[in-house]
């Protein structure tokens, strides 16, 4: 059913998911080309040559190349490291500096993997961009607009990190793995004797392979430590109960590593960059029913979302909860949950669902 003359670029990381996605597209009859993005150099992020990394290494690029060679399709590596540094890395640093907790994968998808890559692909006469994400692209019944539906495999569903894709970019997107489970992907890859069938899962931020973002910031951006001096931990009543090591070292909801001997379990409730103060308290103190988002992307007209019963997901591993959204002012929208939610974290993405369909999202701004 896929027309032979439709040109598709599959963004390949060198792992099993995107490799199988490439194979499926070829089997469906598309004219497929593999592309691997070079987003950062392992050495640039403080790694030592010869050590293992999870992404963007020559090994990964060669894996992708080998899969394409096996499929008889061309493969190219595109260097988008300048764009990645300018947009994603810079935001990562400035968000932590501001006491917020960024999700670089969301920004990378929205701006690099989709927007800038599609712009480049225009020069190659490409019709569609495909990725190995576990998500589906479907038409919203009421408006006829393309929206993103959760992947069939809810354990692997990645729709949360895709909310920022602009409607015109989504139009040109394919998700070949949307109907498959991870297990099926591995089985199909093994059955096709694919070299990548056994590649490990990558769960962390690609440029922080050891998952230690504080090490990354301290090593790569020593200026951040210099501009984020120690300050006070205060409790619910405003009493100073200790000293923190600079706000970028903390995230909302954090319990470990606070170095506070209060006798009871305390959590970071709020990070106030202006006063360089970190508010701590019990888990209940960190609960809130409502928060503001901005930087919103709407996949269907917002009039179909505002005031309607939706569910909102506020973290990658959060189960979306019933809420209503209304316009506050300018670019700000207010999300109000039916019940209080714990650790709503500025900088993270809030994704708006109608059923299993992503209809929009934004960045959590404040309570």
């Amino acid at each position: 059913m896929a027309p032979k003359n439709k040109k598709v670029v599959i963004a390949m990381s060198g792992g099993v998911d995107s490799s199988l996605a490439a194979r499926l597209l070829v089997e469906q009859g598309y004219d497929v080309m593999g592309v691997t993005l070079k987003l950062w150099g392992y050495i640039d992020t403080g790694g030592k040559p010869g050590h293992e990394s999870n992404c963007c290494s020559l090994d990964d690029i060669n894996n992708a190349k080998a899969e394409c060679a096996a499929l008889g399709i061309p493969h190219y590596t595109l260097d988008m490291s300048a764009e990645f540094k300018e947009i994603v890395m810079a935001n990562f640093v400035s968000e932590y500096k501001a006491g917020r907790t960024p999700n670089p994968c969301v920004l990378c998808n929205t701006e690099i993997k989709w927007h800038q890559l599609l712009d480049k692909l225009d020069d190659l006469g490409v019709d569609y961009l495909a990725t190995g994400h576990y998500a589906r692209k479907v038409k919203h019944s009421e408006t006829g607009k393309w929206v993103i539906e959760r992947g069939h495999d809810l354990h692997k569903d990645q729709s949360y990190v895709l909310w920022g894709i602009r409607p015109e970019d989504l139009e040109r997107t394919l998700f070949p793995l949307g109907e498959l489970s991870k297990q099926e992907v591995r089985q199909l890859a093994a059955a096709a004797n694919m070299a990548t069938a056994e590649t490990p899962e990558s769960m962390e931020i690609c440029f922080v392979p050891d998952n230690d973002y504080r090490r990354f910031l301290n090593e790569q951006h020593p200026e951040i430590a210099a501009s984020a001096p120690p300050g006070n931990f205060v409790d619910k009543d405003g009493t100073v109960i200790g000293e923190h090591q600079g706000i970028y070292n903390y995230t909302v909801g954090q319990r470990k590593g606070l170095g506070l001997a209060t006798g009871e379990r305390v959590f970071v409730n709020k990070i106030d960059a202006e006063t360089n103060t970190i508010h701590v308290g019990s888990k209940q103190d960190a609960e809130s029913k409502t928060f503001l988002v901005n930087g919103c992307n709407w996949l269907i007209p917002e009039s179909h979302v505002l005031g309607v019963d939706v569910t909102v997901q506020i973290r990658y591993n959060h189960r979306a909860k019933p809420a209503k959204i209304r316009h506050e002012q300018d670019q700000d929208y207010r999300v109000t949950f039916e019940n209080p939610e714990n650790a709503i974290t500025p900088g993270q993405s809030a994704v708006f669902f109608l059923g299993d369909q992503v209809v929009g999202g934004g960045i959590i701004k404040s309570m």
Binding site: K38, L58, L78, A82, D123, L124
Partner: protein, 336 residues
Amino acid sequence: MHLDQARRSIASNLGARPGEILFTSGGTESNNLALKGLAQAGRGRGNHIISCSTEHPSVVESLKSLEQSGYEVSTLPLDRFGQLDLSEVEAAIRPTTILISFMWVNNETGLIHPVEALGELARTRGIPFHSDAVQAVGHLPIDLSELPIDALSISGHKLGAPAGIGVLYLRKGTALAVQSHGGSQENSLRGGTQNLLGALAIAKAMKIQCESLDSHSAHFKKLSQLLLKKLGYMPHVHINRTEADYSPHIVNCSVGHVDGEAMFIRLDLDQVAVSNGSACTSGSQAPSHVLTALGFDKARAQASIRISLGLTTTPQEIELFSEKLEQIIRSIEREP
């Protein structure tokens, strides 16, 4: 026996003596051996080395490694056309200078460096002079009996031999510290059983190249003139050449108002094999260090094409290439 024949044949093609020809595994090893070997042998006299910013990675990285072990390296800048100012080289020489190394022909721009004058500068001061001649042998006449060059690196596969064989010419009497220990082969300067098949192949390839140098040169000149003429008419194309001497088998040009990566992909999809850097930097996707050293910004460096002409390249292929390149430029050109 056969090995000696190969050695003699190569020596006679280069105006050298058989004992001055060392077999290596290729151009990269020749450069590593020459730079490290000459630098270490000269350590008693000083620790200073002079080279330039557009050398091949095997030279650049060898020099970096020497720097890490206590040598000082002056990497001379070139002007934006890749030209070298001889008076700057002269000014850079110190009492502690123990090695001067400049490539003969740049592998990305085709520019010919004045190795004779450079070698003369070095010789009058008693400093060994090395040249990476991987892109020169087979393209330019070379008579080492007449040239003030003490060490010269040559690669087999650039001459048409299989990969895995190279030569380091080392003038008799030039001290070289051994880098590969454990054997008396190659005058005890490079231990390890020689690659006989490779040696025979490079000898034969070099003989063919050197004996046909005039007709080959005529072929390359004719083709490069045709190519330069075609490129001259093309929109947004700037040929990276000046009045200086260039080896006719390499033409480098930059294309403005296009995305360099997209242009290369389009060319590749059209079955045109050109490159935007040295093969030794592939995988990095970084802009060419040679073009960057010449002051090109990243976008221009990435939109620069190195066109290498071969003995089997035909005028028809140049016509076809030019046609395709122009089509591609027209279809992807962007507003300035």
